[in-house]
Amino acid sequence: MTSTETTPSREAPIQPGDVLLSIENLRACVEENEILRGVSLQIRAGEIHALMGRNGSGKSTLSKVIAGHPAYTVTAGSIHYRGQDLLAFSPEERARSGVFLGFQYPVEIPGVSNLEFLRVSCNARRQHRGQEELDTFAFEDHVRETMAIVQMDPAFLERSVNEGFSGGEKKRNEVLQMALLEPLVAILDETDSGLDIDALRIVANGVKRLALPTTATLLITHYQRLLDAITPDFVHVMAEGRILRTGDKDLAMALEERGYDWIDETDGSDVRQP
């Protein structure tokens, strides 16, 4: 990836262990319904977190609030990203400064070429970092190299964004975007769901390659099988808009064995914050 290294990033350097994302007692609602009821979470550089929980427990909402989706209103609490108030930023500012959300259901955009979309997006991030923007040719070289990470056929560049892509192709396109944007905090919302074994391995390898000592990853997932491929440092279990329990990879294994009911029955006294 020679082309990306021509100009150094203007972004302040990060040391492993630096706090990247700090969420304090976050409450958020959509229309009148409160979905998040006091979420606290701290994520440091070099860490991989897994967020688990039943459907409707608030996992996806948390990811969308972090990315700035307009349908959600934050009613209390805070999110700080590298010490700054993230909630004051627009969604595009968040993305440019290094917060990435991999969508559970990536949107189709008819008529817009994937290549052009990826280029505009990549250049927005590069500009923010003080790197020179890539022209069509330089970008095409860059994106072709990057596509190898997710074993994607360059033919996908010519197609409209996500239009007619299979579920697995859409998810790979998300990981490709993540690779191009080089985020500092990557949140992947059920990137593993709907994938067959091969696609899962490809996606997991991609994510693993992109997880660096200076970046952090938050994996939202239902399944142990993703966590077999990527070992999380922390596992959180959400229920009814709160993080009920935090542990290490053993917690995910215990969940796989015993189901979420087991969490409901415990009193949460062994909750441990990283």
């Binding site: 989706h69 349908a71 627009s90 959300l101 955009i109 008819p110 997006s121």
Partner: protein, 480 residues
């Protein structure tokens, strides 16, 4: 930033071409009667057939009423309050560009249409029309080497009178409709193109229309003839200053394609559309029609409509030749209080004739955008086929989109297909693009441009990028 606020403000877009050129003009006084028609003809030193053409048209026009079937609302037009002839005062015959008033050259420079030898566009010949008259045509010499005639209508009436007499009014008869009759009576200038047998026109031809006066109507007339196996691509562009009054533009365009000939006619229309409260702007009542006269002839209309307070326009094809082909590709963008009632007419006469209609309407602000299309299959049109696709995109919750398809078939072995869809710019699409670092404004214009892709692909290369930019410009401020 919600998409609701995102959409509220589709406005504040500065109109780049709103300046007025201060130039001495020769205007006749307001109003219309037979003596005015005669005066125009005299001023243009026209042969008798032309004078008769005008007088006949005027007589017909007087018996006609303004059409009221379109989904358009505007106060009645006062035809006695319009100047029917306005020309920049300059030497009668301009032997070369050096004799053209520098103020005019500068005007076209500012519009991005340089006319002077050094700066003119690479492979595009331009006829520049200012108010009522053509002021210059570039590359005339080079085109003449190929036998291609490209000149103002005024010159054509003098120098190619036999062609004009034969074809003028042959596609759009003088009494075709109220506005066509008016145009036939008072048209002052326009462009004339003649491509001889077997010639592929070596460059793009283009006419640029500029309305400058605040009280003059513009009535131009365009005639394009492609002989057997000839082909040509022609582009029309237009702008006008910002006045808070409305100016009437009632043009007629006629295309004739003989056996195996093809004509591609593209329009990028950017008349002043009025301000965000709907004050001012051009009233655009235009009749455009192509006659696929010969076998396997082909006429293709591509239009990108972004301007005008009111658009009333249905470029169509009469598919008379066996196996002839008609196409209509349209993007119509309305904003603020603009109203557009536009579409096409595909009249299938010949057996095996085919037509394709792709229409993309984008309505934003308080605007109203109607597609009105006629597909007619005549009794001889055995095996004829039509496919129409009309897609509407709504931005915000104050705009309106309508589709009025009219399908008439007198031939059981003809096929007509019509598809229509309406969509909104979804919050999720907007958010997806934003979450990849793209500004909401750029995101909206990306979505709109994607929506119009099928049509933009039909534009000549040089202008596709222009059209993209124009839409982006028109959408500026669409997101807050």
């Amino acid at each position: 930033m919600s998409s609701a606020t995102a959409v509220e403000a589709l406005n504040k877009t500065p109109y780049r071409y709103g300046f007025v050129t201060n130039i001495e003009t020769e205007k006749i006084s307001k109003g219309l009667d037979e003596s005015v028609v005669r005066l125009i003809s005299t001023k243009k030193q026209e042969p008798d057939f032309m004078r008769q053409f005008r007088l006949k048209a005027y007589a017909q026009w007087q018996t006609m009423a303004e059409p009221d079937w379109a989904a358009l609302r505007y106060p009645p037009l006062d035809y006695q309050d319009i100047v029917y002839y306005s020309a920049p005062r300059q030497k009668e015959q301009k032997a070369s560009l050096e004799e053209v008033d520098p103020a005019l050259l500068e005007t076209f420079d500012k519009l991005g249409i340089p006319l002077s030898e050094q700066k003119r566009l690479g492979n595009v010949a331009v006829d520049a029309v200012f108010d009522s008259v053509s002021i210059a045509t570039t590359y005339k010499q080079k085109l003449a080497e190929h036998g291609v005639v490209f000149c103002s209508m005024g010159e054509a009436i003098k120098d190619h009178s036999e062609l004009v007499e034969r074809y003028l009014g042959s596609v759009v008869p003088i009494g075709d409709n109220f506005f066509a009759a008016l145009n036939s009576a008072v048209f002052s200038d326009g462009s004339f193109v003649y491509i001889p047998q077997g010639v592929q026109c070596p460059m793009e031809l283009s006419t640029y229309f500029r309305i400058n006066s605040d009280d003059a109507g513009q009535f131009e007339r365009t005639l394009i003839i492609a002989e057997e196996r000839a082909s040509v691509s022609y582009l029309e562009g237009c702008t006008a200053p910002m006045f808070d009054t409305n100016q009437l533009h009632a043009a007629v365009v006629e295309l004739v394609a003989l056996d195996d000939a093809s004509i591609k006619y593209s329009t990028v229309q950017n008349w002043y559309a009025g301000d965000e409260n709907g004050k001012g702007g051009i009233y655009n009542f235009v009749t455009k029609r192509g006659l696929c006269k010969g076998r396997r002839s082909r006429i293709s209309w591509t239009q990108v409509e972004t301007g005008s307070a009111i658009t009333w326009k249905y470029p169509g094809c009469v598919l008379r030749g066996r196996d002839s082909v008609g196409e209509f590709y349209s993007v119509a963008l309305t904003n603020h209080h603009q109203q557009a009632d536009t579409g096409t007419k595909m009249v299938h006469v010949g057996p095996g004739s085919r037509s394709t209609v792709i229409s993309k309407g984008i309505s934003s602000g308080h605007s109203a955008n109607s597609y009105r299309g006629l597909v007619h299959m005549g009794p001889q049109a055995r095996g004829a086929r039509n496919f129409s696709q009309c897609d509407s995109m709504l931005i915000g919750d104050q705009a309106a989109a309508n589709t009025h398809p009219y399908i008439q078939s007198r031939q059981p072995e003809a096929t007509v297909e019509h598809e229509a869809s309406t969509c909104n710019i979804s919050e999720d699409q907007l958010f997806y693009l934003q979450s990849r670092g793209i500004e909401p404004e750029a995101a909206v214009s990306m979505l709109v441009s994607g929506f119009c892709r099928d049509v933009f692909n039909q534009l000549p290369m040089e202008f596709a990028a222009e059209a993209d930019k124009l839409l982006a410009l028109k959408l500026e401020g669409s997101v807050g």
